[in-house]
């Protein structure tokens, strides 16, 4: 099958973006957007669908197994991982790729997600005392720790914007892990930060629930985090 892969590109030295399309042909059911991008970049002379010479497509990747979050991008309008998106999911043969729009674009599909990590630092998200582990904490800690900080949840969130006071869903799993393993005294600062940077700004659209590549039950994490931090139920 022949796919037309349309990429919203941006050069490093130019603010303005542009679309460029490439043909990619494969019969393999296993091929993904990630493998197509790899194969295109391995062509000795990459040319677009109009026959113009094109420079290599810049994109991030690492594990290729949905375990690291590096290759998050917008695929046919939905934020997801390139290694997760099989080409066979697009029977019409048109695949549109764009960088995550909530972060500064470095080049093509590469974005600077540093703000996510800076926000976690601002929220002082670390343990201040030894973890207290129970059956319940282990379950929550495991689920929370599965978060790969890819940014898909922030892309789909109607309330998050880079640089705003609301830090979005990506801060919740980190908060939840720490809350689940901290006693009341150690939780104080985490609760304060959570109320300020997460609870206060969350519009409860729960759009994040539909796009998490790890299928983390974001609603469950929010319910648990709110129960501890806001409603003082535990």
């Amino acid at each position: 099958m022949r796919y037309r892969i349309e990429i919203f590109r941006k050069d490093r030295d130019n603010e303005k973006g542009y679309c460029q399309s490439f043909w990619y042909e494969t019969e393999s059911e296993a091929e993904t957007v990630a493998s197509a991008l790899t194969a295109l970049n391995e062509q000795s002379a990459l040319s677009d669908t109009d026959g113009n010479t094109a420079r290599k497509i810049e994109w991030d990747c690492s594990c290729l197994q949905k375990k690291c979050g590096a290759c998050a991008m917008v695929i046919n309008g939905v934020p997801r991982l390139a290694c997760q998106a099989k080409l066979s999911e697009f029977p019409k043969g048109l695949i549109k790729l764009a960088p995550l729009s909530k972060f500064p674009v470095v080049c093509d599909l590469v974005v600077d997600r540093s703000i996510m990590f800076e926000n976690l630092k601002t929220m002082k998200l670390w343990l201040t005392e030894d973890a207290v582990q129970t059956d319940k904490s282990q379950q929550l800690s495991f689920e929370s720790s599965e978060c790969i900080q890819c940014g898909c949840c922030l892309e789909i969130c109607p309330n998050f914007y880079s640089g705003g006071k609301f830090y979005g869903m990506s801060a919740v799993p980190v908060t939840m892990r720490l809350l689940s393993e901290s006693d009341k005294k150690a939780s104080k600062e985490i609760i304060k930060q959570y109320a300020k940077h997460t609870f206060a700004g969350c519009g409860k659209s729960l759009a994040c629930r539909n796009v998490c590549p790890k299928k983390i039950d974001t609603e469950n994490l929010l319910v648990n985090a709110n129960a501890i931090a806001i409603w003082k139920r535990f």
Partner: protein, 495 residues
């Protein structure tokens, strides 16, 4: 707080362990990595981490862990290094538990599972996502020191050059891949840059972000490497798009069985040939047997991993993540049908030669994690990789802290090329695979070396390609120099 600073290149398990240890000693750290820690290969580690915690009533001891590690590695590593590792393992795992790693436990007692090459239960685990769980806890811990100004992250930065004079590290050059600016960092440096996956592009279980360039640059700068022929082929991997997917050893630790069809019936060859540990023999032995049985005239088809006998509790509580992964990529439920598997490149026992203190032959330069040749000898035991990375990172940090001085960071105007040619990368990969398979012979290794030598004329002097070619030749020369079979280096010469 003083001005002593150490550069740590790589932010996976070894890099984070080093950064945390330096911070605890009050030494600053520049934590340099190509991508943030969340993207490091360490998050892929699955089955667990070994420590003789003896929580299962089997009377396990650190001495037995030491003996198993030495034996599994075919006694190639020095006893002192392995003893340090295994003696410290229980404290390392207990500290991880205190940092909140959700190891499977009951009322504070960490539950251990069986792993290859070890008769006793010694592997602490968090289902089949142990690496990810440990990384998350260490990332959170490191954040504390970032906020305190002890750790400064450079998380879109790549090592592109090293300046070594008279066996002393002068500086490293690091390129910001976002801005394309290059900087030099003076001062003591720990390389935690991972294994050599980049030389076997698409054929390993590791990260695609590893190019192998760091090793090539270090080697070209005069850093000594050792045991480069010791490449671990993990027995149970499956080809997926552009890589090999690992099916954790935990699958066999929990009861999975390997078989091949012989004379029309399943033959559980590992259980028949090696009753002492069966499917849990060390990985070099299992992979070799799989290679050999699949070439027998009386056997047909592929080797299968049969996990259909595992009970529901094991799937639910210990391997639920592994099961979903197999279903997602292979469209097969391992609880209902066996999965065809074959050995794939998984780990590099060889690497930068370091002392027990993790010093290299270059003053001011240290190495840890898979980048270093330490602890695992000729074959690494499952569960010892994360342990080696954590202990190695911590030890390297303690050593580097002693010699640490000021670090000066300067922008440099000299552009450094880092992009290797896909054509040369692929030739190197194919030629190395021909020479350095599971079963090797002198002729094919020599043929591979010859092919690699002919590539030298096709590249510019001092280019990254020329450094990679030089390194690939070193791997083959290292293999050719070992004329007897040992661990992962198994020779079967014709005639």
């Amino acid at each position: 707080m003083d001005d002593r600073t150490v550069n740590v290149v790589g932010a996976g398990l070894a890099g984070l362990a080093a950064a945390i240890e330096l911070s605890r000693k009050g030494v600053k750290c520049n934590l340099i990595s190509f991508q943030p820690s969340e993207r490091a290969q360490s998050v892929l580690a699955e089955g667990g981490i070994n420590a003789a915690l003896d929580t299962m009533g089997e009377g396990d001891t650190t001495e037995e862990h030491f003996k198993d590690t030495m034996k599994g590695g075919c006694y190639l590593e020095t006893e002192s290094a392995v003893r340090n590792l295994t003696d410290n393992a229980p404290d390392i795992v207990k500290e991880l538990y205190r940092l909140g790693v959700p190891f499977c436990s009951e009322n504070g007692r960490i539950i251990l599972r069986n792993f290859g090459g070890q008769a006793k239960k010694r592997t602490a685990y968090a289902k089949s996502s142990t690496g990810k769980m440990i990384m998350t806890a260490l990332i959170d811990e490191t954040r504390k020191y970032e906020a305190a100004g002890l750790v400064t992250r450079y998380q879109h930065h790549e090592l592109v050059a090293m300046d070594v004079k008279n066996r002393q590290l002068v500086s490293i050059s690091v390129k910001d891949r976002f801005s394309d600016d290059t900087f030099t960092f003076t001062g003591s440096t720990i390389l935690c840059t991972g294994g050599l996956n980049g030389f076997f592009e698409g054929m390993t279980t590791g990260t695609a972000a590893n190019t192998g360039n760091a090793a090539a640059i270090a080697f070209d700068s005069g850093v000594e490497f050792a045991n480069l022929e010791m490449i671990q082929y993990h027995p149970t991997t499956v080809a997926i798009c552009n890589k090999r997917m690992l099916i954790s050893e935990a699958a066999r630790g929990e009861g999975g069985r390997l078989y091949i069809i012989r004379n029309g019936k399943p033959w559980y060859f590992m259980e028949e040939k090696y009753p002492e540990l069966g499917n849990l023999m060390p990985r070099d032995v299992v992979s070799r047997e799989m290679y050999l049985v699949s070439r027998r005239d009386d056997c047909e088809g592929e080797v299968f991993l049969d996990m259909t006998g595992l009970d529901d509790n094991i799937w639910k509580n210990k391997l639920s993540d592994l099961r979903s992964e197999i279903i997602s990529y292979l469209h097969k439920d391992p609880a209902k049908e066996p999965v065809a598997v074959s050995p794939g490149i998984h780990f590099f026992m060889g690497g930068i030669k370091v002392t027990d203190e993790h010093e290299t032959n270059i003053r001011g330069l240290y190495a840890a994690g898979e980048a270093a040749c330490k602890y695992h000898g000729a074959n690494r035991l499952g569960g010892n990789s994360m342990l080696g990375a954590l202990f190695g990172g911590k030890t390297a940090a303690a050593s580097a802290a002693v010699s640490a001085g000021q670090c000066i960071v300067k922008k440099t105007e000299t552009p450094v090329g880092t992009v290797s040619s896909p054509e040369i990368r692929h030739i190197l990969r194919d030629v190395l695979l021909e020479g350095l398979g599971i079963v090797r012979n002198t002729k094919s290794m020599n043929d591979s070396l010859q092919k690699i030598n002919t590539l030298c004329d096709k590249t510019e002097k001092n280019s990254i390609d020329s450094k990679r070619i030089k390194f690939a030749a070193a791997m083959l020369n290292s293999a050719l120099a070992r004329t007897q079979s040992l661990g992962a280096h198994f020779l079967m010469n014709d005639g």
